[in-house]
């Protein structure tokens, strides 16, 4: 990762995330229509477009600061449930990375940020939310799995929400009728994870 210049890294990540959301926005809204209000794709696209519009400023920043600012932009543009959650995630990763001395400890920053997301959403594992992707992703990072492994686990974790009964978010109002659908937030989280892993793999092949 260190081989990649900071600006290219940040710009590339933004580009990759924006692309995967744009390509899957309809699908995400479709998932949200089944158990929510049908706007998750639209919300995420609006957020990623806002970040993309701001990219020339963001690529100038150090990575931690860029993450924090990206989070703030998501908070101020996505709205809905996803905005504060993805926003909190990036803001807190960024803040913790800033605090880290010397080498970046992604695993600990991620743990701290995921805790913040769970507090923000008053949610936990098995509630059928994006946390059900974040927890396994963190676990893979902790056990230093390869990028491909992380990506695969994220996809698997998203699929597993299919069988869950939603306990948070709009889907929770459906009770048992939420079972049998993939959670849109979990899906977007897996897509973003995969896109990030793919980008990093392409840039710095193992």
């Amino acid at each position: 990762m260190t081989v990649l210049a900071n600006a290219a890294l940040i710009g590339g990540l933004i580009e990759a995330c924006r692309e995967v959301i744009a390509a899957n926005a309809d699908h995400l809204s479709e998932l949200d229509r089944a158990i929510g209000d049908g706007d998750h794709g639209t919300n995420m696209r609006r957020g990623l477009e806002a970040v993309y519009a701001d990219r020339s400023r963001l690529v100038q920043l150090p990575l931690p600061k860029a993450l924090e600012e990206t989070g703030l932009t998501l908070v101020m543009s996505v709205g809905g449930a996803a905005g504060p959650l993805y926003g909190t995630l990036l803001i807190e990763i960024g803040r913790r990375l800033v605090g880290a001395n010397g080498e970046i400890d992604l695993a600990r920053a991620l743990e701290h940020a995921i805790d913040a997301v769970a507090r923000r959403g008053r949610a936990g594992p098995g509630d059928k939310t994006l946390l059900d992707v974040l927890y396994p992703v963190h676990a893979e990072v902790v056990r230093r799995a390869g990028l491909a492994g992380i990506s695969q686990q994220a996809e698997r974790a998203a699929s597993l929400t299919f069988g869950m009964r939603a306990m948070r978010g709009r889907a929770a109002f459906l009770g048992d009728r939420s079972v049998g659908h993939v959670d849109p937030g979990a899906k977007s989280c897996a897509l973003l994870t995969a896109a990030i892993c793919r980008f990093l793999e392409e840039q710095c092949p193992a």
């Binding site: 229509r33 908070v75 543009s77 709205g79 923000r120 948070r168 709009r170 109002f173 459906l174």
Partner: protein
Amino acid sequence: MKKFMNRAETLVAESLAGFVAAHERLVAFGADRKFIRRRSLRPGKVALISGGGAGHEPMHVGFVGKGMLDAACTGHVFTSPTPDQIIAAIRETDGGEGCLLIVKNYDGDVMNFEMAAELAGAEHRIATVIVRDDVNPGGSKRSQGRRGVAGTLVVEKLLGAAAEAGWRLDELSALGEDLNGRIRTVGVSLRGVTVPDTERETFVLHENEMEMGVGIHGEPGRARVKFATADEIVETMLEAILSDLAPDQSDKLLLFINGFGGTPVSELYLAYNCARARLARLGVTVARSLVGTYVTSLDMAGLSVTVARLEERELSLWDAPADTAALRW
């Protein structure tokens, strides 16, 4: 589903612009059009701020004005407003007595208002009332609790009148909390809605089906049941409400029939008639009534029934003058 609009992206902004232009005596845009506020703020009172996704009109913008809200923040359709909007409203309306945020209990709304309160908390005294009036028809315990639906109007009217009367922030917030235990709503839908962004119906019902226990975001309800007569529908709804509220004969009730946007007013009055007759048979007293289209879910065909148990001071707050686009007396 055809809608009067130009582009989905600008629909909310254009509608709000029309709203402000039509009611320029009462309201104005806040800075950068991030929210709508009373044209003239009254110093020396707590500022009441609410908001939520678009698609519930006339709520909340229609409740901005003397005797109700000081500002309302509107998000995209069915998507909560973002913290920057809420922060801007706090900055512009806080006259020193603090701000009360009135938030419907939907995760998105709660989280966005919470982030705003955190970010603005250093410079402003802020309290939050989370409205939770929906009846849980299944009776099962869910972690996030009841949704905030049409009962929000009642909370905003009562707190608005109290703020106007000079109540302090902690008093308002206490009344708000207290009201949560005494207002219950249940909604029924005859037709799903089409979110303009997606142009597809959120759920599709057959000619003989309805969704019982719906909220106000086009989400399906707790159960899809057989369509029935108005008497039967209203009876089912009242049963759910009353088993929860358990009013006795000395209680003074507010009965509020709310249309979801696509229901004609004649049907709302018919439903009111059913509810009124049923309550009379149960021997409980309807002291105040409201019938109309106030808390909507785009053009959803359907309605909600709200019952509130009000004490004398709240009956006076209800009767106190309101001068807003949607409620005026």
